[in-house]
Symmetry: C2
Subunit: 372 residues, 2 copies
C-alpha cells in the first residue's frame, strides 16, 4: 500500500458509495472541493452559487455542472455557504427538494440549527456537518478533490434523524477520504470553541501587541513568537462570522482566560504578596499539563528523538542533507526547519525513532554534517 496509489479511499475506479445526484449550493473552496471529489468517483454533481460567475468557474474546474429543468431531484444537497446564510439556504433547499437529504459544511453547528427550528422548518431530512478542512486562501480556484483526505468530518445528528439520511452524509465523508465523527451540535460548538476558536482569538490578540513594538524588539523574534502568532494571519471577516455564530462557548473560554490572566498579572505585579510566586508557577504548570493532553501523531503518545543538523541556508543544502538521509536509510518521522535572524545558517530538526538516533548521528557526523 502506498499513498501515491491508494490514498485514503479516493482511488478512482472504486464503485461509489453515494448513489443518486448530488446538488452543491455555494461553489467556493469547500463546495467546489466536494464537487471535484465526488465527480472523481463518478457521482453526478450539479452546482449553484449566488454568483453565477462563481458557479460557472467551478464548473470549468470540473466540480460539476449547472442544474437544468430536465434534471431529476437530487438525493443529497450540500450547502457550502458562509455561516451567516447557512440556515437560510438550508431552509430553502429543504423546501425546494422535499425528498432530498440536506447537509451543510458550516464551521458552527448550533446557531443554524436553532435558527431553522425557530422558523419551524421540518428538519427530518437535515443533517448538519462540518468537514474540518480548509486552506489559507479560499475560492473555487483553490479547490482540490483531496481537500478532505484524512481530516475529521463532524456529523451532527438529531434524535429524529432517519438512519438513511445519516448514512448518506457519512458515505459522502468517507467517499471524500475524511474520518466521520458523530457529535451533537452543542458538543461540536463547544469542542471547536476550545481547540480552534479560542486559540484564534488568543493568537490574534498576542499578534496585535506587536504593532506598537520597536523595530529592535521585533528583530529578535524567534520560533516561539512565530508559532504562537501564525494563525493570527487568517481572514478577519470570516472570523467575525465564525466567532459571532459561536459566541457562548468562545465568550466562556475568554472569560476563564481573563480570570487566569488577572490572577497571573496581579501575582507578577506584587510577587512578594502571600502565595504570588506559587500562583504564577501553578498556572505555568497547568500550561505544561494542558499541552500534554494534546494527542500526538494518530492520537498516540509515541515520541521521537530530535536531532538538530546545521545547514547552510541556501538552495541545495537542505536537498543535499535529505538526499543523504535517504541514502543512509534514516527514516525521518518529523522535520522542522529553523532560521536565525541575520545569519546564513539554518537548523533542520529531524525526528527519528529512539532506536535510530545513535546511528543517525554517527552516520551524519561521518559524512561531515554538524549535529547539535
Amino acid at each position: 500500500m502506498n499513498a501515491r496509489t491508494n490514498g485514503a479511499g479516493t482511488g478512482n475506479g472504486l464503485a461509489s458509495r453515494v448513489s443518486g445526484q448530488v446538488h452543491v449550493i455555494g461553489a467556493g473552496l469547500l463546495g467546489a472541493s466536494v464537487g471535484l471529489g465526488l465527480r472523481a468517483h463518478g457521482v453526478d454533481v450539479t452546482l449553484e452559487d449566488v454568483s453565477p460567475t462563481t458557479a460557472l468557474l467551478a464548473a470549468d474546474y470540473g466540480a460539476g455542472r449547472p442544474r437544468t429543468s430536465d434534471d431529476p431531484a437530487p438525493a443529497l444537497v450540500v450547502v457550502a455557504t458562509p455561516p451567516d446564510v447557512t440556515a437560510d439556504v438550508v431552509a430553502r433547499a429543504l423546501a425546494t427538494f422535499p425528498e432530498a437529504v440536506v447537509t451543510d459544511t458550516a464551521s458552527v453547528k448550533l446557531a443554524p440549527f436553532l435558527e431553522l427550528r425557530r422558523r419551524g422548518v421540518d428538519l427530518t431530512n437535515y443533517v448538519g456537518s462540518h468537514p474540518m478542512a480548509g486552506r489559507e486562501r479560499g475560492g473555487a480556484i483553490m479547490a482540490r478533490a483531496d481537500l478532505f483526505t484524512a481530516r475529521p468530518w463532524i456529523i451532527c445528528r438529531d434524535e429524529e434523524t432517519p438512519a438513511g439520511a445519516l448514512a448518506l452524509v457519512e458515505a459522502v465523508a468517507l467517499e471524500l477520504g475524511a474520518t466521520p465523527l458523530e457529535m451533537t451540535p452543542q458538543e461540536h460548538d463547544r469542542a471547536v470553541g476550545l481547540v480552534s476558536h479560542l486559540p484564534q482569538v488568543v493568537s490574534s490578540l498576542l499578534a496585535a501587541r506587536l504593532l506598537p513594538g520597536s523595530e529592535q524588539a521585533i528583530a529578535l523574534a524567534g520560533q516561539g513568537l512565530r508559532d504562537t502568532t501564525r494563525i493570527a494571519a487568517s481572514d478577519p471577516e470570516l472570523w467575525v462570522q465564525i466567532l459571532g455564530a459561536n459566541r457562548e462557548p468562545v465568550v466562556e473560554g475568554l472569560e476563564a482566560l481573563q480570570a487566569d490572566l488577572a490572577v497571573f498579572t496581579e501575582a507578577l505585579r506584587e510577587p512578594d504578596s502571600p502565595g504570588a510566586r506559587r500562583r504564577i508557577a501553578d498556572l505555568l504548570a497547568d500550561g505544561v499539563r494542558g499541552v500534554q493532553r494534546i494527542p500526538g501523531k494518530h492520537g498516540g503518545t509515541e515520541r521521537f528523538v530530535t536531532i538538530t543538523v546545521l545547514i547552510d541556508d541556501r538552495p541545495g543544502q537542505l536537498g543535499a542533507l535529505l538526499t543523504e538521509l535517504g541514502e543512509l536509510g534514516i527514516n525521518m518521522e518529523d522535520l522542522r526547519l529553523e532560521h536565525s535572524p541575520g545569519a546564513q545558517v539554518g537548523f533542520a530538526e529531524i525526528g527519528v525513532l529512539p532506536e535510530m538516533a545513535e546511528r543517525a548521528i554517527a552516520d551524519l557526523t561521518e559524512r561531515g554534517w554538524r549535529t547539535l
Copy 2:
C-alpha cells in the same frame, strides 16, 4: 563554502580572537557550551560550579578544567548561573578577579545590573550579555560547542564600559559563531519581554485552558492549537525566575493584553451594541498586521510557494519523497509535516521558489505523488 566544513566562524585551526584564560562560573547548558566552543578554538578554559559534581561532569565532557592555585588570573570570567543569583556571582567574580572582564549570560539584564549598582559594586569591568540560545533540556550533558551558532548575542554596554572590555565579550560571541548586537539593559528587557516573555505567558495560559476540556474536544486539536501552545511545555521553575526578573515590561504587556481582551470579550458578548462587530474586526485585523511585522528568513520579505504533498504516514514514505525531490533537483526552501488525527496519512508542506513551483508539481505528479 559548505556548512559541513566552514560553519559560521567555528572552524578549527583558525587563530582564536580571544587571548588569555577564560573562567566559566556555572557549568550547566550555557556555561558548558561556552567552554566547549572556546576550547575548540584553543582557548584555555577553567570551570567552577556551586555543585562540584556538575563542574567535574562538564570537565569530563571537555568543557574545561578545574582552576588550580597555579593558574594565572583569567582575562575573562563568564557567569552562566540561573538569573536569580547572577548579580551575586558577578559581584563575587569582580572582587575575586579585579583585573578580569566579567560578563554573564542571564536572559534578563536590568535587574542584575540594578542590584550590582545598589550594592555599590564598581562595574567598570562588567559587560552584561545574553546569548539567545537554549535547548528544551538543560544541563552540561546537553552542552554543544555549536549552541550559539547563528544566534543573536545581545551585549549591554554601560556609558563607562571600556572599549577593551566590550571588544573582548564581542570576540567571544563571534568566536562562538553568534551575532553580537548592542543594546542597553532597558532595551534588551523590553525587547525580550515583548517577543519572548509575553508569548510564553500567553501560550501557557491558553494551554492551561485545555485542562478542563473534554476528551472529545481535545481529540479535534489541529496544527493551529499545537503551534500556539508548543512553548507552554517549557520549564515552569525557570520561567518563574525569568518573569520575576523582568516584571515591568511583562506586566505592561499583560495589562495591554488584558485591556484588548476585555474589549474583545465584551464586544463578542453583546454583538448588537454599537460598533461591537467593528471592534472585533479591528482587533483581528491588528493581529494580521502584527504578524506581518515579524521578519521572515534573514529579515527579508522573500516568500515561497507552498506545495502540499500527501504521504502515507509510516516510516520510509517521507524519506522516499525527499529522496525523489533530491533526484528531481527540487530545492526545498522550507518543509513542514502535518499529521491528521485518526488518519494514517500525513501532509508534507514544501516551500519552493515561485519559479520552481510549476515544474515541481508536474514532476511530483508524474512520479505518482498526490499534491494538494
